[in-house]
Symmetry: C2
Subunit: 337 residues, 2 copies
């Protein structure tokens, strides 16, 4: 499949699907984040140690700390503050993942059992709360209230986006604008604030901070739309979870929204289709999606936001960090396709 038609050529040269090689220019500070994360996830109580250790492994690709470090490096030097902020955003992200797995009754995440599967929902709820609290305490260890304010507000917007998403669950009349607004909160906001804080702690001026913030927001949206795509057309093995789970949860995603907007027959059929058994529902939706332009449209939309992300930081001076940010934007729309 040709995945590079809408992306600028300069950004594709060192593209790789392996995140560990993408992070080449921040190997040492990423290790520091990993160590701080492990230190934060310890407990003097024996009962809690295995639980916290399990939680520390759930985040996966550590995208948000990488965004903090790369944004810092692309606009100045990496300091201890960047390591702290990177650890904090990863802890907040992990807390939201643990709670998401309860919301979705998910059994696996990245080929590991979820906390709700290995322990139970109660433990998941409390562990998520524990991580939120610990993350805010850590961010308050920085000299000013800046990180607390921005990360607190970002976490609120994440919850607001998720609340709006479950309030619209099953409501298959959500327009594309509302959908984008929801994922802007749910997924893009923490990426946006990670990038902006990275620049702020390198003493970048307001304009440069906004440049990085715009990169982060567009990247987050691209990632989420690509996730919507992968939920239907990804490889179950590479994605590490069952396909069609968004459909099972009746979550409005971009492919479905596009299908409903372009196929006049769907409006009458959707309720009937959604009431079918899981397997039949998946088949029926997939057949209709394949006959529509929803697949191509979703991919193109994801690519458009990835391109916007790359364009946003065009004015930054060339550096390994800037190139890596471009590579990540490319990676966001090329995972497992």
């Amino acid at each position: 499949m040709d995945t590079q038609t809408t992306l600028p050529e300069s950004a594709t040269s060192s593209f790789s699907t392996r995140t560990d090689s993408i992070y080449d220019c921040i190997v040492e500070p990423m290790h520091q984040v990993e160590r701080m994360l492990r230190d934060q996830m310890q407990s003097k109580y024996e009962d809690l140690a295995p639980l916290l250790a399990h939680g520390a492994l759930l985040g996966g690709k550590r995208l948000r700390p990488a965004l903090v470090l790369l944004s810092g490096m692309a606009t100045g030097s990496i300091t201890t503050e960047h390591i702290v902020v990177g650890t904090v955003v990863e802890m907040v992200h992990t807390a939201t993942l643990i709670h998401d797995d309860v919301l979705d009754s998910a059994q696996h995440r990245r080929h590991m059992p979820t906390v709700n599967a290995k322990w139970n929902n109660q433990t998941s709820i409390l562990l998520g709360d524990y991580l939120f609290s610990q993350a805010f305490t850590l961010s308050a260890s920085l000299g000013s209230t800046l990180a607390c304010r921005w990360i607190g507000e970002a976490a609120r917007l994440v919850c607001e986006g998720e609340l709006r998403q479950i309030m619209t669950q099953g409501l298959m009349r959500l327009g594309e604008e509302d959908y984008l607004d929801i994922i802007r909160g749910k997924t893009a906001e923490l990426c946006r604030v990670s990038c902006r804080l990275g620049a702020a702690y390198s003493n970048a001026d307001e304009t440069t901070q906004q440049t990085l913030a715009s990169y982060g927001e567009n990247l987050g949206i691209a990632f989420q739309i690509a996730d919507d795509y992968l939920d239907l057309w990804g490889s179950a093995e590479r994605v590490g979870k069952t396909l069609g789970t968004d459909l099972d949860q009746a979550k409005p995603t971009l492919p479905l929204i596009r299908l409903l907007e372009t196929d006049p027959l769907m409006e009458d059929q959707i309720e009937t289709i959604l009431s079918l058994e899981a397997d039949q529902r998946f088949q029926a939706i997939m057949q209709r999606l394949e006959r529509s332009d929803a697949k191509q449209y979703t991919l193109e939309t994801a690519r458009r936001f990835a391109t916007n992300a790359i364009d946003a930081i065009e004015s930054l001076p060339s550096s390994d960090a800037k190139q890596t940010l471009c590579d990540i934007a490319m990676f966001s729309v090329n995972r497992g396709f």
Copy 2:
């Protein structure tokens, strides 16, 4: 029932079971907290407004903001910072209540339907997270990181206490010391930090801050032990929830711990009793509790901590605020008995 045998006479003079009259000397600042709370619980999204408005009403007696204000008044003057801190601790407390109601599958709280009953568990989890994030953002609006650090750490200790409690659920061999350690985190910590922050924002010295902190911790423990008592011997109507729910959840509480420690026969019988149907289990446990000293012991222990709370602030100069703190300590062990 004579409930005042172990409490100093000076503290009982203006005792009342009505919390609204207890708060007489902080009526206006309590209204300011209430207004700020309502402002914080608004949303530009129509879907979310009724949910947030419902959340704002769940806290009930507003004990924690009252502790912030009274501690501030007993050691200096009330400032805007006290109003903000009072609002923040109430939001954190409300978030933990909303999540507790999911953990306990509770249907009612203070004669109102819980969020999980009126909406669902997913909404409850996200609303709790939303309140946590909003609370931390608000606390970061203060000039320094002080409130963020202390409240963040208190919230972490609350979660740690609750996690330890569910990890020991059904484990009827918990000793009294471990039990006290758990409720010190789960219930007392947020009271402790509310009092300490109240004193800190009145510029009280470290010794005075510790005095108020000690009051808050002892008060919180007294409240929780009294709650344990009320779960078995309270009036369902006044408590506003079904009796015996701790027993249904197999939560170790002080009456049960005392029974197991003093009745040698219970050790062999407890597993059998806990496996009975809810009604029979309640009857069987109650019969054995009535034959033991567990009821009296629980009440005396709660009173001992209430007395410790009052003793802790003995050195403070006389004031309406100090007297009210004493009244609240009395109230903690006299509710609905």
